[in-house]
């Protein structure tokens, strides 16, 4: 059957691919499979902790929920722009492809910024992990502070899951940036790194988190050095797969972490 999937005029030296598509795509799908197990394991750890904790707190109220909903909208929209980019590149329309990619990155960035802002807010209100240095000044007291004290599982799972996801989104943005602009993206990336690093106060987890961007910049440079090439529509499609997957994961984190821990007063 997969014989039929190859245009016959093309010369081939291979058995038709069992999955009837090109290697890079299969490779990405395989990666996504294992990555979803990684996320799966985290979600199970979360559920495990939650099941075994009799009265799980529900500290999220309208404000957080609204914010998270907007974030979700951003992510969903970014998926839309992403498919449009893939489509544009399939039509060989390099220009609009690039524009759509940039739009996608913009939405993704919006997501990360909103998320980062919320993290900082929660931390300030006392929902922290022992590693996070305390914001100077007021000693946080209130619902979140209590939650962090009585149910350490809550901040642990919250920051664990959303942090891992945020990491994926950030790397996704870098990935798309490289696909869209290739080596011209490296300086932009470095600029972003400096901005994120110097722009955040020393007590914020993002002050150090920002170095992810630096690491990414280094790795990307190495790869571009090893494999200097023009990215074509297949690369865009593969990048798209990754991006949609990150979106998909959020479709589970959002209800489980936010909605299931929400109480509208």
């Amino acid at each position: 059957m997969s014989e039929a999937t190859l245009p016959h005029e093309m010369p081939t030296v291979y058995e038709p691919s069992l999955f009837g598509t090109y290697s890079k795509k299969i490779g990405m799908w395989l990666f996504l499979m294992s990555d979803s197990l990684t996320f799966g394991a985290l979600l199970y750890a979360y559920s495990y902790g939650r099941i075994s904790t009799p009265n799980w707190p529900t500290p999220f109220h309208s404000e957080s929920i609204v914010n998270a909903t907007i974030m979700t909208a951003f992510l969903l929209t970014s998926s839309l722009t992403m498919v449009l980019a893939v489509r544009a590149s399939a039509e060989g329309n390099a220009k609009s492809q690039r524009l759509w990619l940039l739009a996608t990155m913009a939405c993704g960035a919006g997501f990360v910024l909103l998320h980062g802002r919320e993290w900082s807010k929660l931390i300030a209100e006392g929902l922290t992990l022992p590693v996070f240095p305390h914001p100077p000044g007021h000693e946080a007291a209130g619902e979140f502070a209590n939650v962090a004290k009585n149910v350490p599982q809550f901040p642990a799972t919250f920051f664990g899951l959303t942090g891992m996801h945020m990491l994926h989104v950030t790397l996704g943005i870098v990935y798309l940036g490289i696909v869209a602009l290739r080596r011209y993206f490296i300086p932009i990336l470095l600029a972003l790194w400096l901005a994120a690093w110097l722009g955040t106060p020393a007590y914020s987890p993002f002050h150090y988190g920002a170095h992810v961007l630096l690491a990414a910049a280094v790795v990307c440079s190495i790869i571009l050095w090893l494999k200097p090439k023009v990215y074509d529509s297949s690369d865009v499609e593969v990048a798209g797969l990754y991006w949609h997957f990150v979106d998909l994961v959020w479709m589970f984190i959002f209800p489980l972490v936010y909605l299931m821990s929400a109480k509208i007063l």
């Binding site: 299969i26 490779g27 294992s34 590693v131």
Partner: protein, 581 residues
């Protein structure tokens, strides 16, 4: 239409590199990467072996002072144990058979010029190498290597204050494991894609040599298992350093509250073994595939029940994900789940049994040539049976009550993993050495090595079963404390002497390996008269494996002693046989 863009593709059909660094260090050539993996494993195995020797010495001469080392303290014993297990399982049995030989021969055997993703391939090796360095570094930091065993059960592994080595050493251990996961993931998806996409014309799945099948299935296991270990490791790292409590409930450690709350140690055990059991099949499957291959080659007889072998391996891979609980019968896991797990575990013995029978069926009415690879293949079968047969004991919770965490388990997994899988590596080395280095290895040295290893390892590991029966617990750094252990010391002493001899024997192998690289007698392109594609190309293979032209496959992989054929073997690339099977 964007055809123009695609032209770019052709660029990265990489040409042979010229600069030394691109040729040997950051090479994209799967053959070089295969070698790199192989020598990484070789280094690792000798480290692990020396560690095991130190353990054996400490067990029977607790107060012996060693040159350059001094006295081995109880906690040091546990560090040795931990590093021994980790290094052997991860950096030997997961790298050599798959990353090493798989990398080198999978593309050649399916008739491809290289792996699907050369760059990824290189990255996965270097990440693995980095992981190994991080792992070794644990020895040299303050507090030394961790003492929580290769299974790293929290809270022991999650609390900095739980013991010496649980500080920075344990952090490095976890980080190294996490890195290793990344490397393994990259190589796994590379293997799968290569097998799916890059088989030469005529190389249908059902014409692949069983070696390729085993690498393929191993890769699938790796892909699905390592992702889980990765997140388990991340969580452990968080518990250790971020003060979260995924695995740690409210505990007091030497008199103080550890500051954790609400976690569950069982969660780690589930996540770890969800990976851990597939991992042990990752360790054995390549050896199984290879030995099926060798038994057929050197009995000059088609493999007995090719399809059965493939399906057996597939079902081992499938069932392998449903039995992890058999490591947790005594862990406080729900006893009902335990019972379900024990049934699945017994079920997984069946495909292994099928394979064993097929191996016997293959040499039955064959014409056995006792070359060194064949000797090790036969040794593998014997060891696999001996090691595997203890599985069904452990798989029954009722018996596991007595046997769990005793030397019976240690005996079980050393025979089947510590030796059978290792015999697979040996066989592979002796079998493919000619193709890799263009020379033959020395046969008589090989025979000495074989008999010392076979008898020696049986002598080390068979007695462990008796110890286990008598209730001798594992991970005991001294036998002085429990009275009922005193009677068992002579047996332990015997094992240690056996270990001395066996380990000495391994240096014959090492010598033979390097000596033959230089002085071995020149090898022809197909010294074993085997049928698979790697023997059609020159020795050693050119950069793109086939010097420009791509092979076309017409026959199954095991056409030996075909009636009426000119030679007693028909290569896969020979003109098609009249009678198709």
């Amino acid at each position: 239409m964007a055809t123009g863009e695609f032209a770019a593709h052709a660029a990265h059909a990489h040409a042979a590199p010229t600069s030394w660094i691109r040729k040997y260090v950051f090479s994209l050539d799967h053959k070089v990467i295969g070698m790199q993996y192989y020598f990484l494993a070789l280094t690792a195995v000798f480290v692990g072996m020396i560690l095991s020797l130190l353990m054996r010495i400490h067990l029977i001469w607790p107060s012996a002072t060693l040159p350059f080392w001094g006295e081995i303290k109880p906690e040091t014993y546990l560090s040795l144990l931990t590093m021994h297990g980790t290094i052997m399982v991860f950096f030997v049995l997961t790298t050599a058979p798959q990353g090493g030989f798989g990398n080198y021969f999978l593309p050649i055997q399916i008739g491809a010029p290289d792996m699907a993703f050369p760059v990824l391939n290189m990255l996965s090796f270097w990440v693995t190498a980095l992981a190994f360095i991080v792992m070794l570094a644990a020895f040299f930091v303050v507090g030394g290597a961790p003492l929580h065993g290769w299974t790293g059960y929290p809270p022991l592994s999650a609390l900095q204050s739980a013991g010496p080595g649980e500080g920075l050493g344990a952090d490095l251990w976890v980080i190294s494991i996490a890195l290793f996961c990344l490397g393994a993931l990259m190589s796994a998806l590379n293997f799968i894609t290569t097998t799916l996409d890059m088989r030469a014309k005529g190389m249908t799945m059902m014409r692949m040599p069983l070696t390729c099948w085993s690498w393929f299935i191993t890769a699938i296991l790796g892909l699905l298992a390592f992702g889980v270990l990765l997140s388990a490791g991340i969580l452990l790292l968080l518990d250790r350093n971020a003060g979260t409590s995924f695995y740690v409930p409210l505990v007091t450690i030497n008199g103080q509250l550890a500051g954790h709350k609400g976690g569950s140690p069982l969660l780690w055990q589930h996540l770890f073994w969800f990976f851990g059991h597939p991992e042990v099949y990752i360790a054995i499957l390549p050896a199984m595939g290879l030995c099926s291959q060798l038994l057929s080659v050197f009995s000059r007889k088609p493999i007995f029940g090719y399809k059965a072998m493939v399906y057996a391996m597939l079902s081992i891979g499938f069932l392998g994900f449903m039995v992890w609980g058999h490591h947790m019968f005594m862990s406080g896991m729900s006893p009902y789940t335990a019972f379900a797990f024990s049934i699945m575990t017994m079920a997984i013995g069946v495909p292994s049994a099928i394979k064993t029978f097929n191996w016997l069926g293959t040499i039955w009415r064959g014409r056995i040539r006792f070359t060194s690879p064949m000797l090790f293949a036969l040794g593998f079968v014997s060891l696999f049976v001996s090691g595997g047969i203890s599985g069904p004991f452990l798989a029954q919770p009722v018996l596991d009550i007595q046997l769990h965490d005793t030397y019976f388990v240690v005996g079980h997994f050393h025979l089947i993993m510590g030796v059978a899988s290792i015999f697979g590596i040996f066989a592979a080395t002796y079998y493919w050495f000619p193709k890799m280095f263009g020379r033959m290895m020395n046969e008589s040295l090989a025979r000495w090595h074989f008999f010392i290893s076979l008898i020696g390892t049986y002598a080390i590991f068979m007695p462990m079963h008796y110890l286990g029966m008598a209730g001798h617990l594992r991970r005991y750094s001294q036998l002085t404390e429990l009275n009922y252990l005193h009677g068992l010391v002579p047996l332990q002493t015997f094992m240690t002497y056996a270990a001395f001899v066996t380990i000495a024997g391994q240096f014959i192998f090492l010598f033979n390996l390097f000596w033959s690289m230089k002085f071995g007698k020149k090898a022809s392109d197909n010294p074993w008269e085997a049928t698979t594609i790697e023997w059609t190309t020159t020795t050693p293979p050119p950069h793109d494996n086939f010097g420009g032209h791509m092979p076309v496959v017409n026959n199954g992989p095991y056409e030996y002693s075909v009636p009426g054929a000119p030679r007693d073997y028909v290569m896969q690339t020979d003109p098609p046989l009249a009678k198709a099977h």
